[in-house]
C-alpha cells in the first residue's frame, strides 16, 4: 500500500555530533527514516534518545555546537545535510518544513500580539500584503479552534491559556502550508482533554492541507491515536519501524518490547509494572554491537559483538535485531507482549 505513495523525505544514515568542551558526543548514530506524503509518522523513544536533535537537523536548527557529520537528508531533490549557509535554510524553514516545540508558554514573543506573530510569517512566505495576511491569519486562527479570532488577533500571548497558545503556535507553523510539520511533544505540557482537542485540530488541518506530520511523543496512547506509522528510537538510532498496528501488536525489537511493556495501560491487575533496567549508553563512547544489549536480559552473544542490520518482518515493518536472523534461537517475548498479539486479533483500542 505504501509503495504507491510518494516519498516526500528520505533520511539516510544521519550521524549528528556535538562538540562539548572539546569532546565529541554522538547524539544520533546512523538514523534513517522515510516520510510519505500526507502521513503521520510518530517517533517514540526514551528521553535522550535523540528524537529532537534528529528532527531539528531537517530544518538546520541544531545548536551551534552540533553538526550533521554524515548521511543524507533528501528533500525535493536537494540534500539538506549538505546545506552550509543560512540562506539555503531560509527557503526550507517555515515554508517547506515547519516545527513546533513542546512548551507553548515560551514559544511566542511575549511583547508582540499574536496577530503580528502570525502575520509576519504569512507576509514573508506568501508575499501577501498586510490586509490579505490579516484575513489569512484570522482564517488560520479559526481553523485551529480559536473562537472570536478577530478579537484574539490583537491580544498578547499572556492573555491566552497554555492550550490556546499551542493552538496559536500550530496556526503559525501551519500558516505557510508547509509540506512537513514536525511536532516535538506538542501536547506534553497540556492536560488530557485539551491534548485530545488539539490532536483533533492537527488531524483536521492535515486532512485539509495534505501535509505530512512527524510526531514526537512519549505518550504511546497519542501515537495510537494519530500515527499511521511508528519509528522507535534508541540511543540515537531508529531500531524498529512499521505501520502503527504492526509495531504495537507485533513488536520485534527487545527495546520496543521494553517500551511497550512499561506502559501502565497494558498491565494486568496484580502484575508488577515492567521497568527497563540500567541506563542508556554513554554517547561520548563508541558503541559496539546492539546498543540496547547491556540492558536487555534476553540479549544474545552476537548482540555484544556486532550491530544488527535491518530485517524485514513484512513489506512495511522492519527491525534492527539479531532475533530476526534465520539462525537466531527462539527467544520468547515478555508475557505482556505476547498477550498484545492475542488482543490484536480481537481488535484492542488504544485511543485515549
Amino acid at each position: 500500500m505504501t509503495e504507491t505513495r510518494e516519498k516526500i523525505l528520505r533520511v539516510e544514515d544521519v550521524v549528528i555530533r556535538f562538540n562539548l568542551r572539546g569532546k565529541e558526543l554522538t547524539a544520533v548514530r546512523s538514523a534513517s527514516l522515510d516520510l510519505y506524503k500526507g502521513e503521520t509518522l510518530a517517533i517514540v523513544g526514551e528521553s535522550g534518545s535523540g528524537k529532537s536533535v534528529f528532527t531539528k537537523s531537517f530544518l538546520g536548527m541544531l545548536d551551534k555546537n552540533g553538526r550533521v557529520a554524515s548521511g543524507n537528508i533528501l528533500f525535493e531533490g536537494e540534500n539538506l545535510a549538505e546545506f552550509t549557509r543560512e540562506e539555503q535554510w531560509l527557503k526550507i524553514r517555515g515554508r517547506k518544513i515547519a516545527m513546533i516545540f513542546q512548551d507553548p508558554m515560551t514559544a511566542l514573543n511575549p511583547l508582540k500580539t499574536i496577530g503580528e506573530q502570525i502575520r509576519e510569517v504569512i507576509t514573508l512566505h506568501r508575499g501577501m500584503n498586510r490586509q490579505e495576511a490579516r484575513e489569512e491569519a484570522l482564517a488560520m486562527l479559526g481553523k485551529v479552534g480559536i473562537g472570536d479570532a478577530a478579537q484574539r488577533y490583537g491580544q498578547y500571548p499572556h492573555e491566552f491559556s497554555g492550550g490556546m497558545r499551542q493552538r496559536v503556535v500550530i496556526a503559525i507553523a501551519a500558516a505557510c502550508r508547509p509540506d512537513i510539520l514536525i511536532c516535538d511533544e506538542p501536547t506534553t505540557a497540556l492536560d488530557v482533554t485539551i491534548q485530545a482537542q488539539i490532536l483533533e485540530n492537527l488531524k483536521e488541518l492535515q486532512r485539509e492541507m495534505g501535509m505530512s506530520i512527524i510526531f514526537i511523543t512519549h505518550d504511546l496512547g497519542v501515537v495510537a491515536n494519530v500515527a499511521d506509522r511508528v519509528a522507535v528510537m534508541y540511543a540515537g538510532e531508529i531500531v524498529e519501524y512499521g505501520r502503527t498496528p504492526e509495531v504495537f501488536y507485533d513488536p520485534r525489537h527487545p527495546y520496543s518490547w521494553a517500551l511497550l511493556a512499561s506502559l501502565p495501560q497494558l498491565g494486568e491487575k496484580g502484575e508488577d509494572l515492567y521497568t527497563i533496567h540500567g541506563t542508556p549508553p554513554n554517547l561520548f563512547k563508541e558503541i559496539k554491537g546492539d546498543a540496547f544489549a547491556p540492558r536487555n536480559p534476553r540479549a544474545l552473544k552476537i548482540d555484544f559483538e556486532e550491530a544488527p542490520p535491518w530485517f524485514a518482518v513484512s513489506d512495511t515493518h522492519f527491525a534492527k535485531t539479531w532475533l530476526l536472523h534465520e539462525s537466531a534461537p527462539e527467544v520468547e517475548a515478555p508475557k505482556i507482549i505476547q498477550r498484545l498479539k492475542e488482543k490484536s486479533l480481537k481488535g484492542l483500542d488504544y485511543g485515549s
Partner: protein, 320 residues
C-alpha cells in the same frame, strides 16, 4: 489604568515629602554657626547672633519652620542662600546654573543613547568575536580606571593636539566638545553593556528558536524581536537619567570650569548653607521620583504584561 496612575502619583508625592522632612530635620541638628557667613559670625556679639537667628526663624520649633518652608515652596519662593552666595535668592542661582548642566547633560545623553545602543547591538551581533571583545575592553576600562585620570588625560592631550582652550568658554563652541564627550563615556559603556546583555538573553529564549524555525531571517529576528524586546528593560531608566542631567557632573564641570550645578550640593553641605541644601534635596528628590514614575509608566506602555498585571489584580480582588 488611571487608578494606577493616581495611586502612583500619591505615592511619589509622599516619598518626596518624607525625604525632604528627613533632610530638614537632620539639618536642624547641625550647629547654628552654619547660618552665618564667616565675617558676620566674627563681627557679631552673642546677642546680635541670637537676634539674627531669631530673625531667620531658626529658633522656632522645627514643625513651624517646616511649614514655612513648604508654604514658601508653594508660593514659588525658594528662600535665600546663606553662606554659598550670601543673600542671593536660590531661584536666581538655579536660573544661572541649571541651563549649563541641562544642555551639557542632554547633549551627552543623546550621544550616550545612540552610541551606547550602537555598541550594544554590535557586541550582541558579534558576540565572542572581536567587536564584542573590543567593546568589553572599553567598558571595563571606563569602569575600572578612576575617571579623573582619563578625563584629565583627555583634556590635556586633546586640547594640546587640537590647540583648543583648556577650559569652557560659552562663546567658543569648540570648547563644548570635550565636556560633552567626557560626559558621554560612561553612559555609552552603560547602555552598551546592558543592551548587549539583554539582547543575548533574548536571543536564547524559546520564542527566538521558534521564530527561526518559522524561516525568519537572522536580521529580521534581531531587529523585530531581539532588539525590540531587549530595549524594554532599559526604557525604564531613561526618564530618571534624562531628568537628573540637571544635577550636572561634579568632576567634569570642575575640570572644564563650567558654572553648572555639578558639585553645588556638595559645596552647600560643606559650607553649611542649610537653605540651599534643602532646596537642592527637594529638587533632586522630585526629579528622581518623577523619573522613576515616568519610567514605570513608559514600561507599562511598552510591555503589555504590566498593564494586565494591574487589571488582573483588580479582577482577583473582586472575585474574593
Amino acid at each position: 489604568m488611571s487608578r494606577y496612575i493616581v495611586k502612583r502619583i500619591l505615592q511619589s508625592l509622599l516619598t518626596v515629602v518624607i525625604v525632604v522632612i528627613a533632610v530638614f530635620l537632620l539639618l536642624r541638628l547641625m550647629p547654628t554657626s552654619g547660618y552665618f557667613t564667616r565675617d558676620d559670625y566674627i563681627n557679631m556679639t552673642e546677642e546680635m547672633r541670637s537676634a539674627y537667628l531669631r530673625n531667620l526663624g531658626i529658633t522656632d520649633p522645627a514643625v513651624i519652620q517646616l511649614q514655612r518652608f513648604f508654604a514658601g515652596v508653594f508660593r514659588g519662593d525658594l528662600g535665600r542662600s546663606i553662606t554659598v552666595y550670601p543673600k542671593l535668592p536660590i531661584s536666581t542661582i538655579l536660573a544661572e546654573k541649571v541651563p549649563y548642566s541641562l544642555w551639557f547633560g542632554l547633549a551627552s545623553m543623546f550621544i550616550s543613547v545612540t552610541l551606547g545602543f550602537g555598541l550594544g547591538i554590535l557586541m550582541a551581533r558579534f558576540k565572542d568575536r572581536w567587536p564584542d571583545h573590543l567593546g568589553t575592553a572599553y567598558v571595563v576600562a571606563v569602569r575600572a580606571i578612576p575617571s579623573l585620570i582619563y578625563l584629565f588625560l583627555i583634556q590635556i592631550w586633546v586640547t594640546g593636539i587640537m590647540r583648543w582652550p583648556m577650559v569652557f568658554y560659552e562663546d567658543r563652541p569648540v570648547t563644548w566638545i570635550l565636556p560633552v564627550v567626557s560626559l558621554s563615556l560612561t553612559g555609552i559603556a552603560w547602555y552598551g553593556i546592558w543592551l548587549r546583555r539583554f539582547m543575548v538573553d533574548e536571543e536564547n529564549r524559546d520564542y527566538i528558536k521558534f521564530a527561526r524555525s518559522k524561516g525568519l531571517s537572522q536580521k529580521y529576528i534581531m531587529r523585530h524581536h531581539v532588539l525590540r524586546n531587549a530595549v524594554v528593560p532599559l526604557v525604564q531608566y531613561l526618564p530618571v537619567q534624562l531628568l537628573l542631567t540637571i544635577a550636572g557632573s561634579l568632576i567634569i564641570e570642575s575640570i572644564y570650569s563650567i558654572p553648572g550645578m555639578g558639585g553645588l550640593l556638595v559645596y552647600a553641605i560643606k559650607q553649611q548653607d542649610n537653605n540651599l541644601v534643602q532646596v537642592l534635596v527637594l529638587i533632586y528628590a522630585v526629579l528622581g521620583v518623577a523619573g522613576v514614575f515616568v519610567g514605570d509608566l513608559l514600561m507599562a506602555f511598552v510591555d503589555p504584561r504590566i498593564r494586565l498585571a494591574e487589571k488582573k489584580k483588580k479582577k482577583e480582588a473582586l472575585r474574593v
